[in-house]
Structure formats: C-alpha cells, structure tokens
C-alpha cells in the first residue's frame, strides 16, 4: 500500500500539482491518467523516491519515504519509460546487478529461466544496446519477476510491445495483482485502464480530476478530462 498526503510539486516555481492526497491499496491495480505534462511520470518518480517534492508526505507500506532511508525504498520497484539498465552489459548481467541491489543473488540458470519466461532467451549474452523497444519492455518484465517488491510503479508498460508481449504483460500484471501486491501504472489508454484496473487516478488541472474505482468512473467524463475539455 502506498499513501500520499498533501504532496506538492513544482517545476521552476510553476506548480505541477498541489496538495495531492491519494491512497493506492494492496491487491489493486491502479492507473494514473492525464494529459501530456499533467505530471503522471513525475508522480511515479516521486513515489519511487527519485524526485524530490516540496511538501507533503508519502508512506510506503507504513514507512515514510525518505531519501536518506534506503529501507523505505525496499518495497518499491520503479520501472520507468527509459530502460533504466546499463547498455554495455548483457541482459543476464543487468538482471544480476539489479537483483543484487535488492539483496538477491541469482544463478545464471535462474536468470535464463526468467528471460525465457519473457521470450528473451535467444540473445542473453549480447549487450542490451542492440535491443529493440519491445525487447527492452520484456527485459523490464524479467526485472519485475526477479526482484521482490510489494509496490510496482510501471510507466507505460505496453510501449513498443507486440501482441504477444501485450498479452504476456497483462497476464503478469494479473498474477501479481492476485498476490496482493500494489500495482500502479501510467497509461494513456483510458478504456484499457477502465477495463483492467481497479482504481483510476486522473491528474487534471494541477490536482485530481478523478480518484476512485474504475467501475464507478464514466468513460466520457474521463475522456473529456484527458482532452482538456472538462
């Protein structure tokens, strides 16, 4: 579970959002929606402890998120829009290093099994510099399989994926959701979010446009907010 209390963030003295208070429950898959520049990715980076915020408080599984407290980041895995991995290294080396940061040591065979699970077992020793965007997305999924997390912050999980990759991502998200984990996604397709997510947060006009169950949301209202006409 992750809880934001009165979080305010500005860029160059211009507020991005003010006094944002929202709660993401365990076992829920939440989607953050909003127009370009609404602050969706920034909000995700704030919750990951990567970006500072002016005021407010964030609690991750009951622990206040603080930059000088590494344990407050233990439960969170942030997967950004960029690969977030080391281009000179292979997929196996990247996954081994990433897992090591979270206190996990995996053997090559365990990592290769995970890579084959996401369909990346053909070039495990090549530098990831040569990977396509879709392959990179699959590698991020392998990262999420290997690292122990309670809160997953995933920015645009479907970018660059083919149909098979899309189905794989959806099935993994569903299985994590059933394990009572907290999943927070930044997505652009509100119809997908309304169909697959339990909770929607729409960032609108420097605040919250909608925060609630996706089943209670009206598609046309969400669409209007995303088009900036609400």
């Amino acid at each position: 579970m992750i809880e934001l209390l009165n979080v305010t963030k500005s860029f160059y003295h211009k507020p991005l959002f003010r006094d944002l208070s929202v709660q993401f429950e365990s076992g829920n898959m939440s989607a953050i929606l909003g127009k370009n520049g609404a602050g969706k990715s920034t909000l995700l980076r704030i919750m990951a402890g990567l970006t500072a915020f002016e005021s407010g408080r964030i609690n991750v599984c009951g622990t206040p998120l603080k930059s000088n407290n590494p344990l407050s980041r233990k439960a969170v895995l942030y997967i950004g829009h960029a690969p977030g991995l080391y281009p000179p290294l292979s997929a196996v080396e990247n996954l081994r290093i990433a897992a090591m940061f979270y206190g996990k040591n995996y053997s090559d065979s365990e990592i290769l099994d995970t890579l084959s699970q996401v369909g990346l077992d053909r070039q495990p020793d090549d530098s990831i510099r040569i990977y396509s965007q879709g392959m990179m997305q699959r590698l991020k999924l392998a990262l999420a399989i290997l690292i122990p997390w309670k809160v997953l912050l995933f920015d645009e999980p479907f970018t660059g994926l083919d149909e098979e990759g899309r189905i794989l991502t959806e099935s993994l998200l569903k299985s994590w959701q059933s394990e009572d984990k907290t999943i927070i996604l930044v997505v652009h397709n509100h119809e997908w979010a309304m169909k697959h997510c339990d909770h929607l947060l729409v960032l609108h006009d420097k605040g919250i446009g909608y925060d609630g169950k996706s089943s209670d949301a009206k598609s046309e209202n969400i669409a209007a907010m995303l088009q900036g006409i609400a």
């Binding site: 990567l50 991995l85 000179p88 080396e93 090591m100």
Partner: protein, 220 residues
C-alpha cells in the same frame, strides 16, 4: 553492498573500456606534448616536473570523472541504483573508489613515460612516492566524485565539471605538488609533513561531505 557497487562499476568499464582508454590516451598525448614542446634546461624541467605531473593527472582525472556518472544517464540507469534500497552515500563511496582505481591504472601507464620522455631522475625510495600518489589520487577523486555527481544532471555537465572542480581541488593540488617536490628533493619528512596533513584532511573532509550529501545530490 559497497563491494557489489564497485564490482558493477568495474564490470561496466571492462565491457565499455571508455574511461581507461580515454584517460590513458589523453595522459600519453600530454606527456608527448610536454616532451617535445619544452626546450629548457634539465634543472628547470626537474623543478617544474611535480607541478606538471599533477596538472596532467588533474586533467586526466576530469575525463574519468565526467564518464563516471555520464554513463549512468544513458538509458536512465541511475534510476535503478538510486531507486533501489541502497544507501546513497555508499554509491558515492563506490564512485570514489572506482574513480581512484581508474586513476591508478592510468598512472601506471603515464608515470613511466612521463619520467622517460622528460628524462627525469628518480632516485628516491619508492614507498613515500606511492604514499603521496595514494593521497593525491584520493583527494582529487573525493572532490571529483562529488562534483561529478552534482554536475551530472546539468545540461552542460562536461563544462560544469571542470569549472566547479578546479577551484575546489586547488588546495589538494598545491599540497600534493609541494609534497612531491619535497620528496623528490629528498627533504626530511618533518619539513613537508604539513602538506601531507593538508592532503589527508581535504580527503577526509570531502569524503565525509560526499557521503553525507550524496542523497541530496542524487535527487532530481
């Protein structure tokens, strides 16, 4: 975790070979420029050699320092480290130590050629010289790793790094040059221990500052 972070730094350098190759190539070119452009007596050259050497090491270290954080920006890999439950001060220490290792490797290549091409006489016992090198490298890298981390997110980080680094590293450079001169002139240690103390103090102070401030440095 520190050992794992250093292993990560060295593995990435082993694969990319960007830092060491550029540092060694730059160091060698400057040694050659020095060797062919100075037409002064050997006595004058020997007087200036410690200063020339440390300026060369400072410029060489800037190349390594820039790359030390620059590769983290590519693919936003830095998010992985700072988002992980890793003490951010430890990340700074790992950068400091790995930068120090790169500098030592570059010096192993540069020093013999510096002595050879400038036809310098090195008759002093080697151990105090190694001690001065150890402290000089530690001081430059303690300040450099912190400044490089600070400059990383700036748009013109390659310009900002030397602009911020050179004024801060000046006391270290003065102290290490004075100590090297005294050592090469076979002066008794008691006459130059002051410079060694200055060097050690700067290294410890900036090492502690880096460790304590690095979580603020890393946040966007």
């Amino acid at each position: 975790m520190l050992v794992n972070l250093i292993k990560k730094e060295l593995l990435i350098e082993l694969r990319s070979k960007q830092i060491l190759v550029s540092m060694a190539a730059f160091g060698l070119s400057v040694v050659l420029i020095f060797a062919f452009s100075f037409s002064v007596s050997q006595k004058i050259l020997e007087t200036f050699a410690p200063g020339l050497f440390w300026v060369l090491i400072l410029f060489t270290s800037v190349l390594g320092l820039h790359r030390l954080f620059d590769y983290e920006k590519e693919f936003d890999a830095f998010s992985l480290v700072i988002g992980a439950p890793v003490d951010r001060g430890t990340i700074y220490i790992s950068k400091w130590i790995s930068g120090w290792i790169y500098l030592v490797v570059a010096e192993i290549i540069i020093i013999p050629l510096f002595v050879l091409f400038l036809q310098l006489r090195w008759t002093q016992p080697i151990l105090p010289g190694v001690g001065i090198l150890f402290l000089g490298n530690s001081g430059i890298m303690a300040i450099g790793a912190l400044i490089s981390g600070l400059a990383m997110r700036a748009r013109m980080s390659e310009v900002l790094l030397p602009v911020l680094l050179f004024p801060l590293v000046t006391p270290v450079l003065i102290a290490v040059t004075k100590a090297t001169t005294a050592y090469l002139n076979a002066q008794p240690f008691v006459l130059w221990q002051f410079w060694v103390l200055i060097l050690a103090s700067f290294t410890v102070i900036f090492g502690l500052l880096g460790y304590l401030l690095f979580d603020h440095v890393t946040e966007e």
